[in-house]
Subunit: 243 residues, 2 copies
DNA sequence: CGGTCCTTTGACACAGGTCAAGTAATGTGG
DNA sequence: CCACATTACTTGACCTGTGTCAAAGGACCG
């Protein structure tokens, strides 16, 4: 039933080695950026590539945290649920991002694909023992973790103290910056998530998202060629609004 | 003017070595927990102990991030400011917690002592080169970072989706759990921060904090022997409320 | 003691939530 | 490729939880 499929399980070691970063989608902040060829080979040897269809779970908050993932293509949302169904999306992830890193038995959040996504899956135990031998990799992970921590604090500021309009403006700018990081240079931001996901990310409701985007459009700060594509026509004004 | 004083700068190496953990206040999740004596000695050799009076800044969001700190006594709040003065307290720190870890030029937040506090101060560059030689220490830091990341996600859930009453109940339980971690076993929680700090931590106003605590008291879930001491008389009920 | 700051309490306002309806996009089976 | 069902998005009217403003205790301190 699940479209969660395993593309290749433990690729045969004698296989011609593609550069790992072609496979695992590394970039500046990604795992193997700082590794030499031999180290990258060892990292690739313990990994499996998987592909996940849209709206499919990658893992669940309650699952045993047996794997760590690196996103190489597509887009993913991570979120937490309250017992009564309230949802908080804690992040949107794009190629180069890690997910599933934890020091507990269970994951800290659920992860679900927004679009068809490719991920590298590392067995946690094997990755941890590999870390013992590749301190550079561990340094890389620490760097990524402290970067995420800074982002989390920005999000706390947003959720705790910003108005709806400030939140939406901040969100659009964040998505724009993320797209730039991904190599997309123009000001047309594409939103792989739906309004409900945005609402749950910003601590608002779908209606408020819709109304606020409508206001920004009416003021000429953005254009919406389609529901999932937004043109930031006056980025400076958005920056002023974003608080 | 500042009560920010340096207690001992680079303690003479020939001095009789106190066990570092007597000095730096290590516990389970603290830096030197996993280190042997020699490794701890090296860690201590680069560190300075400082003492900071109440309401005194430890560092500022905009300061160059030249040091990393470990809190050994007292209590600290970390927070971010918006240009118009809105404030989000992103955390309250207690002995054993680290602060100031970042991979950017500047700190990610400001830090201020709530009560007279003692901290170990590590020059960032020297700590980073020490990390190259002490992978266990790096592992420890990674563990602490991912623990903080999980806490940050809980806080996003709170700020994005919980009601005022749920936030206050969650906060009291968190403070109780933290006190337990610190060795305080009973249900009397002491709050070193004032109502304004709590409000800025929970994304509310002082008035709402005050009213909500009043309600919980009226319902008999808590008692307030003093403004800064709260007795959780019906913890179970608080847990149900906390969402 | 008198001043300052913190906390509590009350009256009222409003941003954003809720509920309901309408419209546009997307998918599905024939 | 088209009816039709389904889901997502938008818009409007109204409501409510929390913010704002104001003032009155209390605690602390020189």
């Amino acid at each position: 039933m699940s479209r969660f499929t395993i593309a290749n399980r433990n690729p045969a070691p004698q296989r011609v080695l593609v550069h790992p970063c072609d496979t695992c989608g590394a970039r500046d902040h990604s795992a193997c950026a700082s590794l030499n060829d031999e180290e990258q080979r060892r990292l690739v040897s313990i990994m499996t590539t998987i592909e996940v269809g849209p709206q499919r779970a990658i893992f669940n908050e309650t699952d045993p945290a047996d794997h760590v993932f690196s996103l190489t293509a597509g887009a993913v949302k991570i979120f937490k649920l309250l017992s009564d169904g309230r949802r908080q999306v804690t992040g949107f992830l794009f190629p180069g991002d890690f997910l599933g890193l934890t020091h507990n038995e269970a994951y800290a959040y659920s992860a679900e694909a927004l679009t068809t996504s490719r991920l590298c899956r590392f067995p946690r135990r094997r990755l941890e023992s590999l870390l013992d031998e590749l301190p550079k990799l561990e340094r890389q992970l620490l760097g990524m973790a402290s970067h995420e921590l800074a982002a989390a604090q920005d999000q706390m500021m947003l959720l705790g103290r910003k108005s709806a309009r400030e939140r939406v403006a901040s969100f659009l700018l964040l998505m724009s910056a993320t797209a730039a990081r991904q190599g997309n240079t123009d000001d047309k931001v594409s939103l792989p998530m739906n309004r409900g996901d945005i609402a749950d990310y910003l601590g608002l409701t779908v209606e408020t998202i819709s109304r606020t985007l409508g206001q920004l459009k009416a003021k000429g700060l953005i254009q919406m060629p389609s529901e999932k594509q937004i043109l930031l026509t006056r980025k400076g004004a958005l920056e002023e609004i974003s608080g």
